[in-house]
């Protein structure tokens, strides 16, 4: 019921934004992007090697831009099938909306995201409902400095083989130094509090509360190529059970175009966690941050026409699955076509 009400609230907000955006001149877009290729996996879920990955997405969106405001609404459907013999299927449905407005040297933005992820694997299934509401503010000084604040509320409810609920309010305070129009450096302070509950857990405790704090660093260059690097360290403490630990997350995004038709992007996201191994601590009540994966992606694209792109993707992904002490990981190489209609 709680999930339902959360979805309804975010759905209502998304549609409110859609109607207000509809008053402004904007444009609709539709994208199709099927891809298929090799997927090799191993791990606790299924130790057999299996082949084949078929995936793709359909995105429908609307966006508008005016002198002092811009907004965007998007719905995306993405099914994924990993393997043939013992197939794992993931179905993603994602709706998001964002709106931003500027007043003099201040800019405010609101973004909403509602996502449903169905995870079917041999002998089990897992459903995730994710809601995220974020408010962003930016104050631009006359000089190269600007101040940013991001307030976000994140809720994730898992059902199916396991029942698990996480709510995390997050606040990030950041100072950004813009060296020139292409490059900027920022440092910030990340804070969060969390509540994690496992209602059907046979033994108590069934709830874990806590908080986390840590520094954040970002560097970004956007010119004829893109370089974006970020580092986040979070030190956590739980109230109800005696577990504490720290988490480090490093992300790197590189991108550039070659000539009029080629493009290359690389994204690497690595999360390292150190959790204490206290006798009272139990794994399903450990706090996992809202990001539960490490991954690496490489995408090489070739523009066949202005709205049609052929691409090759290679990557490695590792999901931590909640509650059953297992991971799902593997590498893949796929070929695909992306069309903007």
């Amino acid at each position: 019921m709680k999930i339902f009400s959360q979805s309804r609230i975010s759905g209502w907000l998304v549609w409110s934004l859609l109607f207000s955006a509809g008053a402004a001149a904007g444009e609709f877009d539709l994208k199709l992007s099927p891809e298929a290729g090799y997927f090799g996996r191993a791990g606790d879920v299924d130790t057999r090697r299996d082949f084949g990955l078929i995936t793709g997405f359909v995105t429908a969106g609307y966006r508008f831009r005016q002198t002092r405001q811009h907004g965007q609404i998007q719905i995306r459907f993405r099914p994924e099938q990993y393997g043939v013999h013992a197939a794992t299927t993931v179905v993603n449905i994602n709706g998001n909306a964002e709106y931003s407005r500027q007043w003099n040297t201040t800019q405010w933005g609101l973004s909403l995201q509602q996502r449903r992820m169905n995870f079917y694997r041999p002998g089990g299934r897992l459903f995730a409902d994710i809601t995220q509401v974020a408010l962003n503010g930016q104050w631009q000084d006359a000089g190269p400095w600007s101040t940013e604040i991001q307030l976000a509320y994140f809720a994730r409810h898992l059902s199916g083989d396991t029942r698990h609920a996480l709510t995390t309010p997050v606040a990030v305070f950041r100072a950004r130094y813009r060296k020139n129009e292409n490059s900027s450096f920022s440092f910030g302070f990340y804070t969060e509090s969390f509540k994690l509950s496992v209602p059907h857990r046979p033994a108590t405790p069934r709830v874990n509360r806590g908080w986390g704090i840590g520094p954040e660093l970002n560097f970004e260059y956007r010119g004829s190529q893109i370089v974006s690097f970020s580092y986040l360290a979070v030190f956590r403490k739980s109230d109800n059970i005696d577990d504490k630990g720290h988490e480090h997350r490093v992300s790197l995004l590189l991108g550039r175009t070659f000539g009029d038709r080629y493009s290359l992007f690389l994204f690497a996201d690595y999360t390292f966690r150190q959790l204490s191994d206290h006798k009272n601590a139990v794994r399903d009540l450990y706090y996992y941050s809202s990001n539960n994966e490490s991954r690496f992606y490489l995408k090489f694209g070739y523009d066949l026409t202005k709205s049609l792109e052929a691409f090759m993707k290679a990557g490695y992904v590792r999901y931590e699955l909640y509650g059953d002490n297992s991971d799902f990981f593997g590498s893949h190489v796929t070929l695909g076509i992306s069309a903007e209609l």
Partner: protein, 310 residues
């Protein structure tokens, strides 16, 4: 008129004193800002006069379409039109003159900043104290920023387009005069080709930036889809897709130079005003449209001169 004369006087004074020292440079910068304000004001007056002329023309047309037009009213409005057209010509000349001086001032400031940057760079190699080097590097950064502000998107055409429009080689019998006009046309053609190249180059640069941004946006969407993101991961913080950060003064300088060029080509209408600029960021898409339009107009003008040469 008085304002213009005093403005001209100060331009001359400052043009002579720019290379002198820091105080003079500050004065020149202040004067540059004042001149920018005057240019905007004068251009605003010009736009207002153009609007009046257009509305006068519309009411004349409307009156003419009537079955029984009021001839005395028509005569009055036509005479108003003549007066307005003359005022516009005078105002256009005034704007052209001030802008010409503004361009000269910008060029001189550009040279002065370059000289300062060069001399400060030389100083850093001779200093041992890290603190002092940092201080000088900060100054270099500040002068570099100021220099960027003085770099126009595209320079104005040095010839008078109205003279080009009035030239007709076929009607020329005097061989000397014909040779002079031919030379004028050929130089104009070379200059238009150069400007066309500059605008084309700029359009390609920004087209490449936009293409990269669009692809980045798609890529970020895809990777966001496959992960949980507690906070916004869009590079650039709150920068919307398709926008680039630009300095506000630099941007208005770029827009003014393009606007001047379009005016020289006799393109009316606020093409420049369509480019969205918000929160220190400019829309690349609309800027590209403006550059494409400027490129098209320059190409047409190139053909126009070529036809005159034939």
């Amino acid at each position: 008129m008085k304002t213009w004369r005093s403005t001209f006087f100060w331009i001359i004074v400052i043009a002579w004193t720019i290379p002198a020292g820091a105080q003079d440079l500050e004065k020149a910068e202040r004067f540059g800002l004042e001149l920018e304000r005057v240019v905007d004001q004068e251009r605003y007056s010009l736009d207002s006069l153009s609007v009046l002329l257009e509305s006068n023309a519309r009411r004349i047309e409307a009156e003419k379409r009537k079955t029984n037009p009021d001839r005395s009213l028509l005569m009055q409005w036509m005479s108003d039109g003549v007066v307005l057209a003359q005022k516009i010509r005078d105002q256009q000349n005034r704007v052209d003159r001030i802008e010409q001086e503004w361009v000269i001032l910008q060029k001189q400031l550009h040279q002065a900043y370059t000289a300062r940057i060069d001399s400060l760079s030389r100083m850093t190699t001779q200093l041992a104290s890290k603190e002092k080097i940092n201080e000088i590097e900060k100054q270099i950064w500040e002068f570099s920023q100021k220099r960027i502000l003085c770099s126009p998107a595209v320079r104005r055409l040095s010839f008078d387009t109205r003279v080009i429009n009035s030239i007709s080689l076929s009607g020329q019998t005097d061989s000397l005069e014909r040779a002079i006009l031919l030379d004028y046309l050929e130089k104009a053609q070379t200059e238009v080709a150069a400007r066309l190249g500059e605008v084309r180059q700029k359009r390609r640069e920004y087209a490449s930036v936009l293409r990269l941004q669009e692809k980045l946006e798609n890529f970020v969407e895809e990777i966001s889809e496959q992960g949980y993101l507690p906070i916004s991961r869009r590079p650039g913080g709150t920068l919307p897709p398709g926008f680039v950060y630009v300095d506000e003064r630099y941007w208005s300088n770029q827009m003014r130079s393009l606007s001047n060029l379009l005016q020289q080509l006799n393109i009316r209408g606020n093409l420049v005003g369509r480019v969205v600029f918000s929160g220190g960021a400019a829309s690349v898409e609309e800027y590209l449209e403006l550059l494409a339009e400027t490129e098209k107009q320059l190409a047409d003008y190139q053909k126009f001169i070529r036809n005159k040469l034939q």
